[in-house]
Structures are given as structure tokens and as C-alpha cells.
């Protein structure tokens, strides 16, 4: 489906959230970007972005619109997925301070705390050192989560210190990428470029978009 030079088809989950910002950033980063609201749209893509938004709303609508199970299946097949903020929460294996019925997708072996930095008055922006980028990334945190536990296969790309503790705010595990901040609301598309590269790399290695079996465990972090 995706050749070495062609633009990979990357979906942006479009049930709620800042979808157009991600579509713009992905396009600038060299992908063909499309909104995804239906199972058949989900089946066609090479990679997916779960945008910023309200994680409880997105979580609910994923189930209501019959997207949760197909998405879990594609995640198990190794679909590259990037989540920003709400997207990070939804990808997490465990969610703290969420709603009792919030299920998420349980794909990324991390424990995430919702609204960890506080309410909207505590939202902030800061220049962040991000592993793999040679220059700082201007990161925008809006009612943002942080990561409280990372599993053994998870690489921490950036952290922020609060009260003497470093909290991961950007992580990668195989084909999954997640940030607590919103690169899509800035003009800097380096995080999206990194993700498009992940999508491309998988397309090239697998030679097709959907892989049966255990491709998801392949770790290409190096």
C-alpha cells in the first residue's frame, strides 16, 4: 500500500478534538492525512493520530460509534499510532483520575494521570528537550496529563520536573508514540515528522499496511 517514496495515508481520529490542526501538521510532515470516524475509514489507513480533545468524550464516542474494537484489533496488529494529550490518555494501559467507566485502548504500557498539572489556569508552554531532536521543542500543555509509570519496553523521550519528581511527557513504545503536549498547535512539525517516519518504516519493512500476527512486538526504537 505504501511504497518507500509515496506519502503514507495517516488518519486522524475525528470524533472530537483538534483534528484539523493534526491534519495540517501531518500534511506538512509528508503524509496524506484524512479524518477517521467510521470503521471502514479506520481499516484503510497506514497510521493513526488520536488528537487532543476531551478524553472522556472521545473514549465514549469510540465505543458508541463501534470504533473501539476495530481500533484495538489494529493496535494489536502493530498499527502505528500517535496520541497527543487526550490521545496519550486513551492509549495508556492504566488511567488515573479518569472516569470509572473510562476504558481507553490499553495499548501503551504506561500509567497516565489525567489533568496532572492542574486545571486550565495551570496550562503552560515551555521549551522542552526531546530525545531524538537536536533542538528544543516548544511544547504547549493544556490541562495536560503526565506519565507516572512506564513499562520495560517504553522509551521516555522527554520529562518535566515537578516537586522534585521527573514526569515523562513524551514516550515511545514500538509503533506507538505519545505526548502530553500539543505539537499540533504550533508551527513545529518535527514530532509529526517523527511519527510519519515510523509509519513509513513499518510500511517498508512489512510491505503492507495490515500485518497479521505479532509485528506489534517488534521494537525499532534504535
Amino acid at each position: 500500500m505504501t511504497g518507500p517514496t509515496s506519502a503514507p495515508l495517516v488518519g486522524v481520529l475525528a470524533v472530537q478534538g483538534d483534528v484539523v490542526e493534526h491534519i495540517r501538521a501531518l500534511t506538512l510532515a509528508g503524509a496524506e492525512a484524512v479524518p477517521v470516524r467510521r470503521p471502514e475509514e479506520l481499516a484503510a489507513i497506514d497510521g493513526l493520530v488520536i488528537p487532543g480533545g476531551e478524553s472522556t468524550t472521545i473514549d465514549r464516542l469510540l465505543r458508541v460509534f463501534g470504533l473501539a474494537e476495530p481500533l484495538r484489533a489494529r493496535l494489536a496488529d502493530g498499527l502505528p499510532v500517535y496520541g497527543s494529550c487526550a490521545g496519550m490518555i486513551l492509549l495508556s494501559a492504566e488511567i488515573l483520575d479518569g472516569r470509572a467507566d473510562q476504558q481507553g485502548l490499553g495499548a501503551l504500557d504506561i500509567t497516565t494521570r489525567r489533568n496532572a498539572f492542574g486545571r486550565q489556569v495551570d496550562s503552560f508552554e515551555v521549551d522542552l528537550v526531546l530525545d531524538g531532536l537536536s533542538e528544543r521543542f516548544h511544547a504547549v500543555f493544556i490541562r495536560a496529563p503526565w506519565v507516572e509509570r512506564v513499562g520495560p519496553g517504553v522509551q521516555v523521550l522527554a520529562s518535566i520536573e515537578r516537586d522534585g519528581t521527573k514526569h515523562p511527557v513524551a514516550v515511545r513504545q514500538g509503533n506507538l508514540l505519545a505526548t502530553a503536549f500539543h505539537p499540533e498547535v504550533t508551527d513545529d512539525v518535527r514530532v509529526h515528522a517523527l511519527f510519519v517516519e515510523m509509519v513509513r518504516a513499518r510500511g517498508n519493512i512489512d510491505g503492507r499496511a495490515v500485518v497479521e500476527g505479532s509485528a506489534s512486538t517488534t521494537n525499532r526504537d534504535n
Partner: protein, 347 residues
């Protein structure tokens, strides 16, 4: 997309200025992860240690960005913690805490003000989604109180009785972001100039009659299209006519949209109402009396949320519109009984 980043308008006070990017990365700091420090709390922060990255709170970008995260969503008026829970369960992206829903303000009359802090606290306690609350137009102390309570967004709202018939609140002076109503582009741009980080088109709240919301959304979109079609040398006069700063007018003309998120509000009572406003160009929907004045609030709230996501899919709107029971009875916009004209408040 866009103009959001250009921080238009006149030179805002300092509090707003840290909005501008310091996007230019500082030096080539090869990646040692985990070097950033952030101090404890938001405003006025200084970094620990020598790392030069100082976090900024209350910037234009985090204020407008917060509204970006609400896009495609439904914000519901609630007057109790129980209603807030119902709204959250139904998939609301935020709740709006107010003393009385507009339909009751309309029916009961009297001066309508900011809600009781205890009620706002109980709503903040009850839900994990963002909580907005209304302050009276020009009542900057109500806004100070709401910020102190920790609400996530303040609606400087014409639905409450105005506290100042000349001046709106100087919204740049706050860390918390504001949403304001507008009936036309000039009004929207004046609110943005005062620091509003989100605009909602006004309707006639509390009527269940969507016609005013439709008119104002069409008006704003039409004026934006007209601006985009003007040659650059006519934008100066356009700014004069709109009674808005030239830089902001030029920014809208260039980008074909407001520099902030545009929602709609007022009179939305059915899933089809919400979907129509989305098709007319709203980026999300406020629903007030339409939910908790209807026969079946929970189902209606869920249906409006679904119709907002699939606003361009008539099959889906048909499906979610079934079996909702009675919509709010409604008051026709032209009825003489409708003595209060909310949309005319604000200038």
C-alpha cells in the same frame, strides 16, 4: 489554520504578550532527556536550575488552544452537580455552570448573576471535564471570583444581566480564558481585541428557537467571506466599518477565519439543530435550556453529542433523533411574551 498564532489585535498588556512564540530553539542542546524543570504553579514561574526554559502560563496560545481541544464537542448548561454528571456521562466536552438556565431567567425575570461559589465548587468536584461559568458583561470582579474558584473558562454572557453598559471585561488581565458572544463579525473582533480566546455566535437563549443562532452564524461567516474577497487597500475602511483594529481585520481577511475557535449558542434544542449549526460553520455547540428543559435530558444530550460529530451524515442524525421524547416547548422568537432580547446585550 492559522491565524490563531498571529496574536492579532492591538498590543495587549504584558499578561498577554508572553503569548508570542519563543519558538526559536535555543542553541543545539543535544538530547539529554529530562533536563527541564518546571516550578510548582502556574503564574509567574521561574525555572529551577539553569535550564533556560521558563514555562509560561495564561498565554494567548494556551487560552486559545484550550478552545481548540473542545472542537467538535457539545458544552452543556447545568445548574446542579447532578445535571453536570448527566452531561459528562452523555459525552459533553465541558459543562457551563450557571444560576438558572436561560429559559428560567426568561420566565422568572429579575437580575441574573454569577452562580453561587458553593454550586460551582460542587460541579467542579462532581465532574472531571472542564467547567465553565458565566460572569455578567463588564463584571470583572465576578470574573476574578470565578478565576479564583478554578473554573476552566469564563463566559462573559449576555444571558446574565449586564453589569456595565459601556465596557466589557478586560480579559487580557486574566490567566483564565474567556468566551464571548457575538451577533456579527465586528462584535466578535471587538471581543477578541479585549482578550476573548473563543467566540460563540449568539442566539436567543432559552427559547428553543434556533432562528437567531442561524442568522448570527450566517452573518459572521458571510462577513468573513466578504473580507476575504476585498483587495488589501480596502481593508482599512473595512476595519473602520467593523469598528475593529486593522491588524485583526487583515488577519481574518488573509486566513478566511477568526483567529479563535467559533462555537454557536442559543436556541439549540434538537440533534438536527446542532448538526445544522455545524454545517453552517460552527466548530462546536453550546446547548442551554434545550437539554434540561426537555422530556428526556440524558437521551437528548447523548443524541446531540452524536449529531455534532456526524453533523454531515443525515442517516446518523435520523437515527439519533428517534425516541427522544418531547423537546423543550420553546418560545417563538417573535412572540411578544419574549420580552428579553439577550442577543442585543453586548456591543
Amino acid at each position: 489554520m492559522v491565524g490563531r498564532r498571529h496574536s492579532p489585535g492591538p498590543t495587549p498588556p504584558v499578561s498577554a504578550l508572553n503569548a508570542e512564540h519563543h519558538h526559536a530553539p535555543e542553541g543545539t542542546n543535544m538530547s539529554t532527556p529530562d533536563t527541564n524543570s518546571v516550578t510548582n504553579s502556574a503564574p509567574g514561574l521561574a525555572p529551577h536550575g539553569t535550564d533556560s526554559a521558563a514555562p509560561d502560563a495564561g498565554t494567548t496560545r494556551v487560552k486559545r488552544g484550550m478552545a481548540d481541544m473542545l472542537k467538535g464537542g457539545v458544552i452543556m448548561d447545568v445548574v446542579t452537580a447532578e445535571q453536570a454528571k448527566i452531561a459528562e456521562d452523555a459525552g459533553a466536552v465541558a459543562v457551563m455552570a450557571l444560576e438558572r438556565v436561560p429559559a428560567d431567567i426568561r420566565a422568572q425575570g429579575g437580575v441574573s448573576r454569577m452562580s453561587d461559589p458553593d454550586m460551582i465548587d460542587s460541579i467542579i468536584e462532581a465532574v472531571s471535564i472542564p467547567v465553565m461559568a458565566k460572569a455578567r458583561i463588564g463584571h470583572f470582579v465576578e470574573a476574578q471570583v470565578l478565576q479564583s474558584l478554578g473554573v476552566d473558562y469564563i463566559d462573559e454572557s449576555e444571558v446574565l444581566t449586564p453589569a456595565d453598559y459601556s465596557n466589557h471585561i478586560d480579559k487580557w488581565a486574566f490567566t483564565v480564558p474567556f468566551v464571548c458572544g457575538a451577533t456579527n463579525l465586528g462584535e466578535a473582533l471587538r471581543r477578541i481585541t479585549e482578550g476573548a480566546a473563543m467566540i460563540r455566535s449568539k442566539g436567543e437563549a432559552g427559547t428553543g428557537d434556533v432562528s437567531n443562532a442561524t442568522m448570527h452564524m450566517r452573518q459572521i461567516r458571510q462577513e468573513i467571506r466578504r473580507l476575504s474577497s476585498l483587495p488589501e487597500d480596502e481593508l482599512f475602511v473595512a476595519a473602520k466599518e467593523l469598528q475593529a483594529p486593522y491588524e485583526l481585520v487583515a488577519d481574518v481577511a488573509r486566513n478566511g477565519k477568526l483567529p479563535v475557535v467559533l462555537f454557536t449558542a442559543g436556541g439549540i434544542a434538537t440533534p438536527a439543530d446542532a448538526a445544522m449549526m455545524m454545517q453552517l460553520g460552527a466548530e462546536g455547540v453550546f446547548v442551554g435550556s434545550g437539554i434540561f428543559k426537555s422530556g428526556n435530558p440524558k437521551e437528548r444530550a447523548e443524541a446531540i453529542v452524536k449529531a455534532t460529530t456526524f453533523h454531515d451524515d443525515p442517516d446518523m442524525i435520523a437515527k439519533v433523533s428517534r425516541g427522544l421524547g418531547e423537546a423543550m416547548v420553546g418560545i417563538n422568537v417573535d412572540e411578544p411574551a419574549r420580552s428579553i432580547q439577550f442577543a442585543e446585550r453586548g456591543w
